[in-house]
Point group: C3
Chain length 436, copies 3
């Protein structure tokens, strides 16, 4: 439970909000690289943390991210011409490069100062992991920017990953909380009561794991902090005296990885990016550090699988709020817990059902909400510190973002640290570059 002011502090990321300032210290995904497939192609409207921007790939392949308002008469540069290393307004031909500086002002007298000073707001961009990232914060005094976080999927050959995104009609924070809350698997993603665990084709894992998860609605949670966030482990009884561990990563400010992966299986992760305070993009990535994804896996992911939703050409989930997620009450009664197809869609349904911004003042949390509580404290502390002038350090630890999480089965009585060391080779889940 949060007070109303703390709920605002956690959730609001507009430019003038404390959390908005905090988020702007980190590189943010703003588009998939494939949304800008070619040099001089059509510019693309994007909205990030309430800011309406325009992305375009120039003649040399560089991506510009600019405020789309021509400073001459306020025309929308979206309608502009992307050509010859710049974006030209079609009203009177003013033209700007990817850095926002004017490169041509055809109706301005040659001796005007405008030619030197005129510019539009532009944010630095990078491409990494098939995603265009932007740095939308202030430039540090020495001019040096942090580097894009080295999320493992981005460091691999493209053949070993699948990267996409989906739109969600709610605030970023409750979507992220859904990712950190691995206890809800005991309900939301299960078969209907009475249906054997091996009958749900949409289930995220095999029959034994499902049975363990189903049997224990109250896993015991342990949390380990690290340089850029924390890892959380949920322990449930497995068969015999064994414990079934499911671990998930949180990395600042809004990255997460999923808990089901056993060694050799594909890893899944997401980055939650506010569109505005009432909607977010969830960039979702699947990777396998050891082998290429198969054609069948790619095909499956394109049709929606696990936390990857089935989306249309605009990355809007096909089963969404506006069509009631195509919830089928007969399916819900006799087959699956929700009557909604797809783990990603079930998550979206329940997260969007909390309201555009979840009202955390009326909650009644329990011990299984441990990771959610830690997440909120971490973010609120970071934003508060920044408001007092203390810059966050995580943005400068880009190598610390090589993180994995997943499942492990181990004997009773062992510590979370032991489990992490045994499963990932490090207590925090950090992966040495060499072992990727």
């Amino acid at each position: 439970m949060l007070t109303a002011p703390d709920n605002d502090l956690l959730t609001l990321t507009g430019p003038d909000q404390p959390m908005g300032q905090y988020f702007r210290r980190y590189w943010q995904p703003v588009a998939l690289s494939r949304e800008l497939p070619e040099p001089d192609g059509p510019p693309v409207r994007v909205q990030v943390m309430g800011e309406k921007l325009l992305a375009f790939r120039d003649t040399q392949g560089r991506v510009g991210l600019v405020e789309p308002v021509c400073p001459h008469r306020g025309a929308d540069l979206y309608y502009g011409r992307n050509e010859d290393c710049g974006l030209r307004c079609v009203f009177h031909g003013w033209k700007f490069g990817v850095d926002g500086k004017a490169v041509d002002l055809p109706n301005v007298a040659p001796d005007s100062n405008y030619h030197k000073t005129m510019a539009i707001k532009a944010y630095p961009t990078r491409e990494f992991g098939e995603i265009v990232w932007a740095y939308m914060g202030p430039r540090p005094d020495d001019g040096r920017l942090p580097e894009v976080p080295m999320l493992e999927f981005g460091t691999l050959p493209a053949s070993r990953r699948y990267v996409t995104k989906k739109r969600q009609e709610c605030n970023w924070a409750q979507a992220l909380e859904g990712a950190l809350d691995t206890s809800h698997f005991s309900f939301l993603h299960m078969p209907a009561p009475g249906v054997p665990s091996n009958e749900n084709a949409d289930a995220p894992a095999d029959e034994r794991r499902l049975a363990w998860i189903r049997r224990d609605p109250m896993p015991k949670f342990s949390i380990l902090d690290h340089d850029v966030g924390f890892v959380v482990g949920g322990a449930r009884r497995a068969d015999g005296q064994d414990i079934y561990w499911r671990t998930a990563q949180f990395a600042l400010p809004s990255h997460s990885t999923t808990p089901s992966t056993l060694p050799g299986e594909n890893y899944f992760g997401y980055t939650f990016v506010p569109i505005d305070d009432h909607a977010c993009w969830i960039y979702t990535y699947v990777w396998n550090p050891e082998r290429d994804l198969t054609q069948e896996e790619i095909h499956q992911l394109k049709s929606g699988h696990g936390v990857v939703a089935e989306v249309d050409e605009h990355f809007i989930p096909l089963r969404n709020l506006s069509n009631g997620y195509l919830l089928d009450r007969q399916e819900q009664k006799h087959k699956t817990y929700t009557g909604v197809r797809g783990v990603a869609e079930q998550d979206a349904m329940i997260q969007e059902s909390q309201g555009r911004i979840a009202d955390r003042t009326r909650e009644h949390l329990t011990a299984t909400d441990a990771a959610i509580v830690r997440f909120r404290r971490t973010l609120i502390a970071g934003a508060r510190a920044l408001a007092q002038g203390i810059e966050p350090q995580a943005p400068w630890r880009h190598q610390a973002y090589r993180l994995r999480s997943g499942s492990w089965i181990a004997a009773q009585g062992r510590s979370f640290e032991d489990i992490m060391q045994e499963r990932f080779g490090s207590v925090t889940g950090h992966i040495d570059q060499a072992c990727a």
Copy 2:
């Protein structure tokens, strides 16, 4: 005409408004019983007086009416599982009975106080006359609730009635005023000028009555108060020296019966229930105390007839504000007064045309608006009294709601009391249980 504050006082029924408090002393229709056809069926979203609620029929057939927000993390219980005598949130399995009390909290430690105290807001419900009623007010000190009003249609065998509802896109009060204003029949529901009275197939009564109504646009009104409201009679010249009386009932806080019924004919009534301040449900019922409705009558009512609108599966009128009521200007010129098909639809058109909330500060009322004036005074006085701590008595007079109204033809010079006594056997139109 009302002042702006009085217009607010009359029309606004949110929980914090004086009229909202007053309405909450009365049982309110919240759904048709057939919207919850089976035990453990899908829950149904309802909105009553601005409150967003969820109705569900549990395993034992009882109807729960609850606030649809899970107190754990705020997920919407609409997506929940209605099973084993309760509604279960699909996020983490919290489950609540029709009384709102938690019956299962699977992720809460056994020794937690939550198991005893956790509950969601729930309102008592009853079923009467194929309608689910709820009491949304405070429970009196002695714990005893009033009983549901014994509207006559509800006391009859189902074969003698037809019960439905229709949505209207305006405040409840102006819709009810339309029902009490029987003078508008001389215009709104008539054939076009020049068209004989027997040519309008949609007309609510036979040719003579139509001719009398048409001929006299200024009926003389008499009003008699009774325990739960009042009855109004409008007197027009009939043939020769006869007077054609049309009477209508108003019962607190928002019930009404219609004026056309002659002995032996079907009775019609409605209850106006605020969805919010800008829309209402009009529960509409047809009954014949003496015989079953015929198959032909039922068929006719299902396709819209008289004050029963033609509606879709969501009880939205087919001819409505969004499609301009399918008004046909050629029909209006040559056939009917409005060019809109259906008495109910004509009423909806004109009432919705007054705006979402009619602006009563700019009106110019006349003598034919007598019942409207009495209605406003009665409601405003009741809400004002309650605000001063004086509880209304009508909710406790549930037997007094057995009321009829209709038409009568009588010699000139007789009093309204005489007419009521002769037509209904009582001055107020109250029907003895025996004579039903």
Copy 3:
């Protein structure tokens, strides 16, 4: 650039705004005459400067323009019956003439004062040039109203003109600024770079003119004030030592004529009428003072041509904001400057792209924006003066609105006054009645 208060002052035309008061000193187009084709036909909803009104043509062919709210109970007179020289409310039959006075109140006692005093707000109307005009301001002390401005197209036989309108989703002022800004032709309406000037079938003029316009993005502007506004001339290099002049008229408060017409060609003009602060109607007229328009020209204009947009039966452009103007990025790359078909549609796209109300506080104007600056100063001065009690004189100069503008090719070094005299026979572009 304007301050925020001045931007409001310029753009807002509601009844209580200074510019709203100023506009109400002038006759305003409120409908095309053909929207009210017959006596006693259906009334038509219109909205002008934020006021929701109803226009109807009565039995004698007169056009009434009234507030559509029946003063009895507030029903919408739009649903009323237009018959026997008045509009009758279908609720209780109250009837009003084109002057707004009650002519029948059937449910009002014969001795009531209502019969003398009851009225609805009504504005005087005139028809001129196939347009219904209204005077929505206060009646001067002597009761005399100004006359409708004698725009030339309205003085000609109907066979010599084509009159239509189009809706635009932005404030009136930025649309008008687009008309006065003839410098944008060098970009917005051009072929794509590299495409010869003779390949764009939508181009507003012939190849030579296009080439001159394209070659010179920075015409030199001259402005001459006159009794009812000003004329602006833009001078570009033509072939050899010649200058290509393009002139445009501005007439108070919101009329304009276009710059391309050479002697013998058709003239084009428009009047910008606020619907509310966020949308406007652009009444658009084409005329030839010397000959009838040909069937081919009429056909072409009906399908959209030059500043005449291609519109649907409600005068909504087919290529509009809601469908992205059907912008084709391939066309934009290889054929036309914008990828949008139609000069009118290109204008609408760029003007609507400035926002519902252009933010003039962030502009950076140049010398080519001279006419825009003059327009703003003129309007703001007029509204300010009126707010101080100084009535504008232009409304009383209806003969001064016979104005033409267009193109001329002349030797270098001649003054704008000379050009106007040579091209139009007067320095201001005013046309003597005789020479029409």
